[in-house]
């Protein structure tokens, strides 16, 4: 296995793990954490791509993408946390209880 393949497998695993958490975990805080795991998976993949051909002269484009991506991920996380805090303040909920939510509608 080349270095790139190892990184790829690792990043896809992280991606899958994060996606699973984001969809399946009912706890909202865990969903937010899963989102970050998922993001890290993608970033890892991009960094690996950058180094694939020539590790001494990495391709700057994926690295720029990762930098931007991290900024976006941080902002989204902050916003999500604020939203969670408000939800908790208003309802005391920390979980997405689908049954209850739909009966409210």
């Amino acid at each position: 296995m080349t270095q790139f393949e190892i990184y790829s497998v690792a990043s896809v695993s992280l991606f899958g793990l994060g996606l699973f958490g984001l969809i399946a975990l009912p706890n909202i805080l865990r969903k937010i954490l899963s989102f970050n795991v998922l993001g890290v998976g993608i970033f890892l993949f991009l960094v690996a791509t950058a180094q694939r051909d020539d590790p001494t002269q990495p391709d700057p484009v994926p690295q720029a993408m990762v930098l931007t991506g991290i900024v976006v991920a941080v902002s989204v996380t902050a916003f999500a946390l604020a939203l969670l805090q408000r939800l908790h303040g208003e309802t005391g909920m920390t979980m997405l209880d689908d049954e209850k939510a739909e009966s409210d509608q």
Binding site: F15, G18, L19, L22, I23, I28, K31, F35, L38, G39, G41, I42, F45, L46, T49, R52, D59, V61, P62, M65, T68, G69, V72, S75, V76, F79, A80, L83, L84, R86, L87, E90, T91, M93, L96, A101, D104, Q105
Partner: protein, 498 residues
């Protein structure tokens, strides 16, 4: 303005930043002016494309492989124009909507009046920066020629849209917003993974470059599936629509209008772009038919749910679920069967539907907002008997917009239906035409359930407050526009082919 393309992004973006500094009094005025300037820039852009065809604009002077390009073709120009027209009218509406709380003391005394939804009166400071950010991000998605740049646009769009939903007070809104955020984030992450795979395989982010370099194979297929799934989730195609009805009905009326009319169109546009240009060789008939089946399910399920609703805003929101199905029907109609090219008539139909739905749905949500304010915050349909007599302009607006949604002539919705049905027969798939017609019938059921009630005699003792022309006017104009675009389709179809 030598090249208007960057301005349609820069004006709302910088105005959004500047608006953060403004106080409660001046911000609404500033917001409307910013919206007007964005609209003017959009008009320049459309004229430019009309005269010169597709335009490319290298941001900061860097050309495609290295720098980021803005690309405006007929389709993008149409979407920009749609956003400008709808956006400007929503802005005018919001000027009034978010500044003045209605005079609740004039309502009848009975306890029936419960502000069931926390209407965000007096929240203009939060609304305007978010809305202008959102507008900028929508335009980024339409204009960007770069896959990653589009991702950034999508993410800003998602976050500001969710933030706008939270302008409604109350737990229901917050919960809906949370679900919306999760759906939006999953959608954009799936998209980003697709972008990463494409870059790893074909070493470019430029849409045009990519459509040249891409080769059918596993990486392309995986990227196609991931990105399509992400965008279907963001556009809320059945069964990935679960977040939409709650979010669109819990949001304040102008925000509902923005979300239903514009935000889902941006992700739909991107989906179309990917299938039409980038993944032209990767897509398959079976994939297209699968999308078509989901679209069919969306039309039927969304309409049936809309029929069941007893409140107006959820009804309109479920109508969006159904109408999104119509948008995606273009995929099985347009993806080539034996030939090498997309079916033009189907594409025209889909785009026409996107435009007329934007106008009609925005009109409907805005009118619903006006009606709700006149009723002191409730949107229970049962309370709205006699609407046609008491608030004739709003009732008219909902009726006209309904005509367009049903696809009855003369209206934009009818043109869309006509083009798509033609495509169905031309490509020897008449069953899609039958689905289109059945969907129109279902739409008529839920629309006339409401319209019939509006014509009823008002219930004894019900009290409508008078509404303001600033609220009813924009809704009415949008509804009239949704009819007018159906009178002559040639200009729009020609612009699309530029």
């Amino acid at each position: 303005m030598r090249d208007p393309s960057p301005w349609v992004i820069l004006i709302p973006l910088t105005s959004a930043g500047f608006a953060l500094l403004l106080g409660h009094r001046s911000i609404a005025r500033f917001g409307v002016v910013a919206a007007a300037f964005t609209t003017i820039a959009s008009a320049f852009l459309v004229v430019d494309v009309w005269r010169h065809g597709t335009r490319r604009y290298p941001v900061g002077g860097w050309d495609a492989p290295l720098g980021i390009e803005l690309v405006v073709d007929g389709l993008a120009a149409l979407m920009i124009a749609m956003t400008a027209v709808v956006g400007l009218l929503i802005s005018i509406y919001s000027f009034r909507y978010f500044s003045d709380p209605p005079d609740l003391t004039r309502l009848r005394e009975s306890a029936d009046v419960r502000p069931s939804i926390g209407e965000p009166w007096g929240q203009s400071r939060a609304f305007w920066p978010l809305w202008l950010f959102l507008w900028a991000s929508i335009n980024i998605v339409f204009l960007s020629g770069d896959m990653f740049n589009i991702y950034v646009g999508l993410e800003i769009m998602g976050v500001s849209a969710v933030a706008l939903v939270t302008l409604s007070r109350g737990a229901v809104a917050t919960l809906s917003a949370t679900k919306y955020l999760i759906a939006a984030v999953i959608g954009s992450m799936l998209y980003l993974m697709g972008v990463a795979i494409l870059y790893a395989s074909f070493s470019t982010l430029d849409l045009q470059e990519l459509s040249v370099r891409i080769e059918p194979g596993n990486p392309a297929t995986v990227a196609l599936v991931l990105m399509s799934a992400g965008l279907l989730l963001k556009t809320a195609l059945f069964p990935l629509h679960f977040w939409l009805p709650a979010a669109h009905s819990a949001a304040p009326a102008p925000v509902s209008a923005i979300l239903s009319a514009l935000v889902i169109k941006a992700s739909f546009y991107l989906f179309l772009r990917l299938w039409m240009d980038v993944f032209m060789q990767t897509t398959t008939r079976s994939g297209a038919v699968f999308v078509g089946l989901l679209a069919t399910a969306a039309i039927i399920w969304g309409s049936l749910q809309a029929i069941r609703q007893i409140r107006l805003k959820p009804l309109i929101a479920y109508s969006t679920v159904a109408q999104v199905g119509y948008l995606f029907l273009l995929i099985p109609l347009a993806v080539p069967i034996a030939t090498d090219s997309w079916n033009v008539s189907a594409t025209e139909g889909g785009v026409y539907h996107a435009i007329s739905h934007a106008l009609a749905k925005a009109a409907m949500f805005l009118a619903a907002g006006a009606v709700m304010q006149a009723l002191g915050g409730t949107d229970e349909i049962g309370e709205m008997a006699g609407l046609a007599a008491r608030l004739p302009i709003s009732a008219f607006a909902i009726g006209l917009a309904g005509v367009s949604l049903m696809g009855l002539p003369p209206s934009g919705g009818y043109v869309a239906k006509w083009l798509m049905m033609n495509a169905a027969f031309d490509t020897a798939q008449p069953w899609w035409a039958i689905i289109i017609v059945v969907g129109g019938g279902l739409t008529a059921i839920y629309m006339f359930k409401f319209i019939g009630l509006a014509f009823r005699k008002p219930v004894e003792g019900s009290s409508f407050l008078p509404s303001s022309a600033w609220l009813e006017g924009p809704a009415f104009i949008l509804a009239v526009l949704s009819i007018l675009v159906g009178l002559r389709a040639t200009p729009i179809v020609e612009l699309l082919s530029k």
